[in-house]
Symmetry: C2
Subunit: 412 residues, 2 copies
Amino acid sequence: MVVELIAVGTEILLGNIVNTNAAFLSEKCALLGLSLYYQTAVGDNEERLAETLKTALGRSDVVILSGGLGPTQDDLTKEVAAKVMDMPLVDDPHTRRRIEEYFKNIGSKVVTDNNWKQALVPKGSKVIDNKNGTAPGVIMEKNGKIAILLPGPPNELIPMFNNDIFPYLNSLQPEIIYSEMVKICGLGESLVETQITDLIQKQSNPTIATYAKAGEVHLRVTAKAKDSKEAKKMVKPVVKELKERFGRSVYTTSESVTLEDTVIGLLKDKGLTLTTVESCTGGLIAARLTKVPGVSEVFKQGLVTYSNRAKRKLLDVKKSTLKEYGAVSEKTAKEMAKNGAFITGADVCISVTGIAGPEAVEDKPVGLVYIGCCYKNVVTVKEYHFNGERDKIREWATVHALILMRECILEG
Amino acid sequence: MVVELIAVGTEILLGNIVNTNAAFLSEKCALLGLSLYYQTAVGDNEERLAETLKTALGRSDVVILSGGLGPTQDDLTKEVAAKVMDMPLVDDPHTRRRIEEYFKNIGSKVVTDNNWKQALVPKGSKVIDNKNGTAPGVIMEKNGKIAILLPGPPNELIPMFNNDIFPYLNSLQPEIIYSEMVKICGLGESLVETQITDLIQKQSNPTIATYAKAGEVHLRVTAKAKDSKEAKKMVKPVVKELKERFGRSVYTTSESVTLEDTVIGLLKDKGLTLTTVESCTGGLIAARLTKVPGVSEVFKQGLVTYSNRAKRKLLDVKKSTLKEYGAVSEKTAKEMAKNGAFITGADVCISVTGIAGPEAVEDKPVGLVYIGCCYKNVVTVKEYHFNGERDKIREWATVHALILMRECILEG
């Protein structure tokens, strides 16, 4: 089945927003095994939108349109699709009530007239409720072609796609698609690929796809089968095999769980508290950990000791250590982690000191980073050499701090 | 003049990468006063790319293609464009030498055979040197139509566009475009717009366009004139007027300067040092400040006092304050800032305490944030109510911490 994307919105053509919906929808379509050959963005212009939609319906089975479903006059995706597919707009009482409810829930008393425009739907279409906004989604089927209309804001589009459109598209196919994600940290992409060459070569169903992230590799295992029960059964032994091959490097098999979630979860499970002491990452590790709601149970404080003086004053790093070995050294990372744990009374303390650039310091190269982790009074320090610019080095150091922390706790 | 974008790459259609080039190029084209009606993404497929390029050349004057200029067999943008425009590929000795130089500079001794594919260019085209990679850019002009081929990686595309393609497109037009950016912080978009309604209404050249960011509004003043000297002369009084109307809220008129750059610059100019003490932002302020190279001159340390105990132990916040007013209170923000400055000996200390959600704390609502700034022993505390989810509240609190710090130093 061939699918195609059309993003509607003059703000995209002006470069005011990045079309992230296209990447989200494309990845999901790939996962569904659909062929996607074109993504188009077009403005809120009746003629051009109609032309684009006709072309798309001519060459693809399913066209997914996003955006242009707002209440104002310049939003015209639904109107144009209704005309092109010859399915005139009619009032949908269910959506009318839902919009009333929506405004009541957000405490707004006045529903303006133009909001009722959003309760109009193409005759004979399937209406998809929007749980995060007023514009409904719409599925239009006619003459073997399908147009799917989704609201533009990602916080409306993403849940609507995941909850309703994904299962709908899945149900159209002769075989059901089911996938699970195996997330691996601390191993490089090529190393991971080498270790599963045999699996990739011998299997066509399920398939294994690799995605490289900073410090992580995600493996998606996808099976096609006549029903979801059978597909799950096919995915299961492959996921098991991957978990066996990569052991502790697999930190989750859940799509929505991040590395920081895992680390915080591990600390919670073991009843441990944590301190971060950062130099070149400058607060990034603390900021990333505190993205996780409920982190306060384990994370009590963090220190950003950017200067040598701060390393001495706040962390009691010895003057002689800084003088003899330098701020960016194994010795300094070790003292930072050990003293950080002692001073704050935390069970775990992670330290980072390095050279993020753009200029080399202490005759040491840009990208040299030491990460220390103190757990049960034992300090482990590792040396890293990261490539790239300042931002990238800081990001990689942050990820590797989380990875080292996880390793030390699991092994300690 | 009508321009159109085509991004080439199967990785875009698979959703593996977000097409940020489209937003970048679109914003620049808008700035040049060009009309852009379509953005398309298509895979590395000869037939579909040729079809897409023909359609684009049929309805637009200039087509900008990005991606598909790599050395491997599946990269075929140049080959397809050469065929469609009937400008056969020929060897370009200049590019050949540049590629040799490039490999020499990165320390690679072996240039593989397929790299020489990148030295082929359409006959009669203009070759644009790539300073950050091997693939050259190409400008193809024929029968009143123009195709511009750019490398896909943003770190190659962006400088090439800014240095070579922008001036080229500018020179094609009867009038030159010139613009300056006025960056405003701490005022909402609608307030800013209200204050310049008269300017926007009365002027068509120069124009003023507004861009809303978290806590900031950027105003782009753009003039069209017969040459750049005249355009600059037209922009000047408008920028001056905007600076007068918004006074200190204007933090820069330089396109590349960020709010954190400005704050760090201000501290440097005044020879001041800074400490951050953060609760709900959890290190984000420190992380944002340390994005700026050379920040170590003014930023010596930051504390993330996430728990009440950490606020007491590390910052000497009174137990009675926490008990009576709560951790999220004006009183606590005040003590955090004052004590943070005292304990670390910094000239300026910025404090943040708030409720980022998802759940309310101490019977206080999600989004309530207090930000304190201690400067010259005077503490200013402001109360904020931010909307949105955890990430957004933390981001807005971070921006407003920078804004408050700037205000206090300028006024202090």
